[in-house]
């Protein structure tokens, strides 16, 4: 379970998150929607521990642990996974080496045995197959020269292998094509189950046609201004953010 309590954060002097309260029970998928500049990307970065954001108040408990005190790598080991809006290219780093290093780092921290090359390849190949990816993905450098859709697939491959308990999907950009949306939603829906939660951060309702959320929250001006069932997303689509905030 993820519990965000009165979370305030700033970049430099500018306060972006102004007291966020939000609970995502285990097994549920929640969507966060909101206008541009509401603080959606900031929330995903604060949750995953990126530098440059200062938390001034509040706490974030994941399964009872205040994860704001953990380094990004320890949050990953605790079961959190951030799917990047723009996955980073790593020239010179082979995808297979990257995936195996990440997987074994997380397994080590979770007290599980590391996978040798053979066992890793076996599970990577199975995940690749279920994501309908080409096996030469493993031989290429991480995200280098990948198309937008391929980068998203690679994110979902990492997620499938790392088996997080909580996925945070930063899909705030409007520029995502239908293909990329489909890839992300298939990746999330494949993990959906009683022990998996997700926080889907998006600007547009259409992603939620594919990943049907249990709850929708509206983030505006650094606060959650409304929460409701999945139909809230449709209302937002019809009336716009201004209409919903006022209601």
């Amino acid at each position: 379970m993820l519990e965000i309590k009165n979370l305030r954060a700033r970049i430099g002097e500018k306060e972006i998150l102004k007291g966020i309260d939000l609970t995502v029970p285990t097994g549920e998928i929640h969507a966060i929607m909101g206008p541009n500049g509401a603080g959606k990307s900031t929330l995903s970065y604060v949750l995953s521990g990126r530098d440059g954001y200062e938390v001034t108040e509040g706490e974030v408990l994941y399964n009872g642990v205040n994860i704001l005190e953990l380094a990004p790598e320890d949050r990953a080991a605790a079961g959190m996974f951030l799917a990047f809006q723009y996955p980073v290219e790593l020239p010179g780093v082979g995808n297979a080496n990257f995936l195996r290093t990440a997987l074994n780092a997380v397994r080590r921290k979770r007290g599980e045995p590391e996978l040798d090359a053979v066992a890793f390849l076996k599970s990577a190949r199975a995940a690749i197959k279920s994501l309908q990816m080409n096996e030469d993905f493993l031989k290429r450098n991480v995200n280098v020269g990948f198309s937008g859709g391929e980068k998203k697939r690679n994110e979902m491959l990492q997620m499938a292998l790392l088996k997080p308990g909580l996925a945070i999907l930063d899909e705030t950009d409007s520029g995502l094509d239908i293909d990329a949306l489909r890839i992300v939603s298939e990746g999330v829906n494949a993990l959906r189950g009683p022990s998996f939660s997700a926080l889907v951060i998006t600007h547009y309702q259409r992603l939620l046609d594919h990943i049907v959320p249990d709850m929708v929250h509206v983030l505006a001006g650094g606060r959650i201004v409304r929460s409701g069932p999945k139909e809230l997303a449709l209302e937002l689509e019809a009336r716009g953010y201004a209409g919903v905030e006022a209601a």
Partner: protein
């Protein structure tokens, strides 16, 4: 002895030899045969500047050393000529593929000494050779080799150097290559050792279609100083040259790249390229880059570029968000930078030696 060059000379602006000047050198100590690396082909060994294990056939024994005289302006070459007592002399006859040859240079002694070997490599028309040099040592010494290379028409020499001198040692290496029509000189130096080192290349492309690839990787830490200086003279039309240098500098290390492309009046359709990338792992590390283009022809393509930066914060965060600890994430990114630097080395045995060398570079303090 001829005086050492000083920083007043433009070509020595970034490399200061005063620490070398302060040393006094005694007699060259007798050298024991160093441990030989695993290598499938022939090996020739120079210990303290003397050939200690001659080459086996089919390339001849490599012993044809004769004293030389210097007339040019390079004073380190003059000192070498005054002091040289031995060196590799190798000729690959026309049309012969000499395969791969490993040359191990090892310098070690209790008291400071200097070694000035003078090497000569000649490839006949359409001959080929891969020369892999391992340069190692222990203690305080000055290693000042000069190599003169002549490549006849269509010959190809792949020359890979792994410089792992003692970190108390000085290495000044001068390599001069004359490349005839259709011939190619492919050079790669990995600078890992020495307190102070300078690798200086002078390559003349003398016939149409000649080519020079002059690549280097510098891995420096502590107070190490590494200088890679390359001068390519395009004297004939339709020649191509590439100079790429990648440097990883930690602690107080100082890296230098001076790259010069000279295009003579008649050298039309010259294709010259030069690139320097440096990764600084500390705020105190410094990199000096001096690109120079001197072009007297009017139909040429010459470009140069340089980047200096720290590890990318976005890349680091990406790795860490996947559970990889910060030190390991940093190591992965540095390794990736170096793997790219080693990409020009396609010879498998040499590539393996280089990868092993970076493995030890960041585990040894």
């Amino acid at each position: 002895m001829t005086a050492l060059p000083t920083k007043k000379l433009e070509a020595w602006r970034y490399t200061d030899l005063r620490a070398l000047e302060r040393l006094s050198f005694g007699a060259v100590p007798a050298a024991a045969l160093p441990a030989l690396p695993e290598f499938a082909g022939p090996i020739v060994v120079f210990a303290n500047g003397r050939m200690s294990a001659p080459l086996a056939a089919p390339l001849g024994d490599g012993r044809e050393f004769a004293p030389v005289q210097e007339h040019g302006p390079q004073s380190l070459a003059h000192i070498n000529a005054e002091q040289a007592q031995d060196g590799l002399s190798l000729s690959v006859p026309a049309g012969i593929d000499g395969g791969a040859l490993l040359m191990l240079s090892h310098n070690a002694g209790e008291t400071p000494f200097a070694a000035h070997p003078r090497h000569r490599v000649t490839l006949g028309d359409n001959a080929r050779l891969t020369l892999i040099e391992l340069v190692k040592g222990e203690g305080v010494y000055w290693h000042n080799p000069v190599a003169d290379i002549a490549l006849h028409g269509g010959a190809v020499l792949t020359h890979i150097r792994l410089q792992q001198e003692s970190t108390a040692a000085f290495n000044t290496t001068l390599i001069r290559a004359n490349v005839a029509a259709g011939a190619a000189y492919e050079h790669f130096t990995a600078t890992i050792g020495a307190k102070l080192s300078r690798t200086e290349l002078h390559v003349s492309l003398l016939g149409e279609g000649a080519r020079a690839d002059l690549n280097a990787a510098q891995l420096l830490r502590g107070e190490q100083h590494g200088d890679f200086t390359a001068v390519v003279r395009h004297a004939a039309p339709n020649c191509a040259s590439r100079q790429t240098v990648k440097s990883v500098l930690a602690d107080d290390a100082h890296g230098v790249f001076q790259g010069r492309i000279e295009v003579a009046k008649g050298a039309q359709k010259t294709d010259g390229y030069q690139m320097s990338r440096a990764l600084l792992l500390s705020e105190r590390a410094t990199m000096d880059i001096k690109p120079e283009l001197e072009i007297f022809a009017d139909d040429v393509k010459c470009s140069h570029g340089a980047t200096i930066g720290a590890l990318d914060a976005e890349q680091l965060f990406y790795l860490r968000s996947r559970g990889i600890n910060e030190p390991e994430a940093r190591a992965m990114l540095i390794h990736a930078f170096l793997e790219e630097a080693f990409a020009p080395v396609t010879d498998e045995a040499a590539h393996k030696l280089l990868i092993e060398a970076i493995g030890t570079w960041w585990t040894t303090p």
